[in-house]
């Protein structure tokens, strides 16, 4: 019964269900799951591409299990920071250290593009996420479980080409989740989706984060999304962290509430002021 409820919430606007289930889940996380995430510390991180100095000294500590959103103008280096954290780029200077040395499957990234293999069925695409454990006996069961998690169990035998944009992104999420990562980095994962699909995907992201207790780092250009989902919003400007805003509101948060709107307004104002002399946001 509980499972069925959760599937529906993926496609539909997050309804104000009885608050009991999320609260129970939060309790569970506090007792057993909170230790799953990895904490990470970044010191004096710099990154240049040739003469272009993109990151000019980032210092940051993210506690285990925190949901951090990173916002900033286009081209300010959000993706670069995320790729550095994920180990896809090497720093020019500075260091990134985790509380424990992460194994490959502890650290996953989700991109704006789903990056599914068009020639593999949905289930095999999810199995890709198991990395080296792909050949283990329970691989298929784990992949199926991850598909249930994102509410796409019935699409396991389909080709990616027949899925909608939101469904493809959910498969990509299942692939990222299947190895039970301890840090999950998202690079504008909802950027290409329509408004309604975005809202239900946001609810899904929040739900799996609460269930699994990984450390979440979400890059987004949507400030409303950042304040709705994150414990903390970082604003990047001129290659540094210009603002570090704690969003201390209880979950589930009500979309459009006055507190969220006020926080969003403040961050947007900051971003706009910073860009007065330039035209792009």
């Amino acid at each position: 019964m509980q499972e069925a409820l959760r599937f529906q919430s993926v496609d539909a606007e997050p309804v104000d269900r009885a608050d009991i289930i999320p609260q129970a889940r939060q309790l569970r996380r506090a007792s057993e799951g909170a230790t799953r995430g990895l904490s990470l510390t970044i010191r004096g991180l710099r990154k240049s591409f040739g003469d272009n100095e993109v990151l000019r000294g980032i210092d940051l500590h993210i506690p285990a299990g925190q949901f951090v959103a990173i916002v900033g103008r286009s081209g300010c280096g959000k993706s670069t920071l995320l790729r550095l954290i994920a180990g896809l780029e090497t720093p020019t200077a500075g260091s990134i250290s985790f509380s424990e040395t992460p194994r490959a499957q502890d650290l996953r990234v989700m991109f704006q593009e789903p990056r599914l293999l068009p020639w593999a069925r949905v289930l095999s695409n999810v199995e890709v996420g198991l990395g080296r454990e792909r050949k283990s006996a329970d691989a298929q069961a784990r992949a199926e479980h991850a598909l249930v998690e994102v509410g796409l169990d019935d699409k396991r035998g389909q080709w990616p080409a027949v899925l909608s944009g939101g469904q493809k992104q959910r498969v990509a999420l299942a692939r990222a989740l299947v190895s039970q990562p301890r840090t999950l980095a998202f690079d504008e994962p909802l950027g290409a989706l329509d408004a309604l699909t975005r809202i239900s995907m946001q609810a899904l992201l929040e739900r799996v984060w609460r269930d699994q207790g990984f450390t979440a780092i979400l890059v987004t250009h949507d400030v409303a999304e950042a304040v709705a989902l994150a414990d903390r919003v970082l604003v990047i400007e001129d290659g540094r962290i210009a603002q570090d805003v704690t969003i201390d509101l209880p979950r589930p948060r009500r979309r459009g509430s006055a507190e969220l709107a006020a926080l969003e307004g403040a961050i947007l104002k900051h971003l706009l002021e910073g860009s007065e002399d330039t035209s792009d946001l």
Partner: protein
């Protein structure tokens, strides 16, 4: 009003059996007109024999075993030549698509050789090999090499780099990356090369057998020309067309089978 009336009929479900027959209407009509033109004497038999005469000639050659033997020889030459040229082309395509060093070493040379029309080598090939089997195999292999090489190379180079990055992030080894990402990604382009190569394969073989051979379909046609057996000449041409069509259908079937994930091949 009349337009609206006709709409439902357009959308009415077609019988699949009838649908499959539609492509054959035109060829049958052509044969029918051809037969009529021959029977009425509109087209003299010296110029173009009637389809029935061609069929009769085919039947006689079939009974004597000559037809099967010649078709078999041509088919064998085509397959072996294709296999040799195709695998070398595929190997170079893979090597140069995957390794910068290999590409630097050989690509420019291959691109230069590509500009020599392979049929222009016929005199040289005859000097080298005589009218031996190896002459035909060499020409077919050379003709087949380039389309396979170029399209394999192109296919591998245009695999989505984001997918390759994804594979690496998820810990695929080089072998897995090739099997699960690079090769399937290059496959549509490899098939384009395959279809081109099949066309070139028949063309090369026809020319080579016509000029320098002592068996095979092309030789059969040339012999028939000497004895003014125009029905056998036409028969040879038709069999070439049929074999070409068969090879094309086979590659299409293989394509449908292996590219079933591709939106262009998905059944409704």
């Amino acid at each position: 009003m009349s337009l609206i009336d006709s709409l439902p009929r357009l959308n009415a479900p077609k019988l699949p059996r009838v649908d499959g027959l539609i492509p054959w209407i035109v060829p049958f009509a052509i044969i029918l007109v051809w037969q009529l033109a021959s029977v009425t004497g509109f087209v003299p038999g010296r110029v173009l024999p009637a389809p029935s005469d061609v069929a009769l000639a085919g039947w006689k050659l079939l009974l004597s075993g000559e037809l099967i033997r010649n078709i078999w020889v041509s088919f064998w030459r085509a397959s072996i030549g294709f296999l040799i040229g195709g695998s070398i082309g595929f190997a170079f395509g893979l090597a140069n698509g995957l390794s910068q060093l290999s590409a630097k070493l050989t690509d420019t040379t291959l691109q230069m050789v590509r500009n020599i029309p392979h049929l222009a080598l016929i005199p040289l090939v005859i000097l080298w090999f005589g009218i031996d089997e190896s002459a035909k195999l060499f020409l077919v292999a050379l003709g087949v090499f380039f389309p396979i090489y170029l399209n394999t190379l192109h296919g591998i180079r245009t695999v989505d780099p984001q997918l390759i990055e994804m594979g690496r992030i998820y810990g695929m080894t080089d072998g897995e990356l090739f099997r699960r990402v690079i090769f399937p990604g290059a496959l549509p382009s490899i098939f384009v090369g395959l279809r081109f190569a099949l066309g070139i394969m028949w063309l090369t073989l026809i020319v080579a057998e016509t000029i320098a051979a002592s068996s095979g379909l092309g030789y059969m046609a040339m012999q028939a020309r000497e004895f003014m057996l125009i029905d056998v000449v036409v028969l040879s041409i038709l069999i070439y067309a049929l074999l070409g069509k068969l090879a094309d259908s086979a590659s299409r079937a293989l394509e449908r089978l292996t590219l079933s994930w591709h939106p262009a091949f998905q059944k409704k």
